[in-house]
């Protein structure tokens, strides 16, 4: 795996192999980002499911609930 470095003062572009430490950082950051995203998406899905369940108990559609709350 490599990284590209562009020196804006000279326009010079170099390609450098990643160190073991950089590879480990990359993998850790990627794992954390995806875990955070899945947690956020699960939270949103859980809220939507809870809302749908409440509306079903009340016998209301989503549009009817919006009218009541507007």
């Amino acid at each position: 795996m490599e990284k590209v470095i562009i020196d804006c003062s000279t326009g010079e572009q170099t390609v450098v192999p990643l160190t073991d430490e950089e590879i480990a950082e990359l993998e850790a950051a990627a794992a954390k980002a995806e875990a955070d995203r899945k947690a956020a998406e699960k939270e949103a899905a859980d809220k939507a499911a809870a809302r749908a369940a409440i509306l079903a108990k009340l016998g209301l559609t989503e549009d009817e609930a919006k009218v009541l709350l507007s």
Binding site: K3, I5, G11, A30, E41, A44
Partner: protein, 172 residues
């Protein structure tokens, strides 16, 4: 209102790379704009996180608030005080339509100032499918140093032909 728009540097990858760094960014502009067209080598997904860091800063200087929708659902989330780097967009990945790339624009105002640096991004991870993610993100780099380098990091690696254009803007 910006009245100049100058290309500082650009790169179109000839082979895949884990990250792209713009170093020695001149401090003579008012704002920076970065335009990217990227695709990630990550498999089994239609898009993957793309992250940014500045000046190899230590500590936990990165925060963001995002809005996201893909045509089927919409979400928002807040990430505070993150170390190393922070996600600001999504690059199209291997499960998306072949040869499609994400469009990402990043705007960094007052990058040479001596205050903390709020900035923003807008990205679309393209694919010819029923859902494709669009994101608007407000970000903060809590650091008062001039931004002299920035690094864009792929989740796995940016594929060849991904491109990166860094522009400087002046207000006078």
């Amino acid at each position: 209102m910006a009245n100049t728009y100058t290309l500082i540097a650009s790169n179109t990858l000839s082979s895949s790379a884990a990250s792209v760094t713009f170093s020695a960014i001149p401090n003579t502009f008012t704002d920076l704009v970065l335009k990217m067209s990227t695709r990630d080598t990550a498999t089994t997904v239609i898009d993957r996180a793309t992250r940014i860091s500045f000046n190899s800063a230590g500590g936990t200087p990165y925060s963001q608030t995002e809005l996201q929708g893909d045509g089927a659902s919409a979400t928002s989330q807040r990430v505070s005080f993150q170390a190393t780097n922070i996600e600001f967009g999504r690059s199209t990945a291997a499960s998306a339509t072949s040869n499609t790339f994400a469009n990402i624009e990043l705007y960094i105002p007052n990058y040479a100032g001596s205050t903390n640096k709020p900035f923003s991004s807008f990205s679309v991870a393209e694919t010819n499918g029923t859902t494709a993610r669009i994101r608007a993100v407000a970000l903060l780099f809590s650091n008062t140093n001039v931004i002299s380098s920035l690094t864009l990091t792929a989740d796995t690696a940016f594929i060849a032909d991904s491109s990166f254009f860094l522009y400087g803007i002046k207000n006078s």
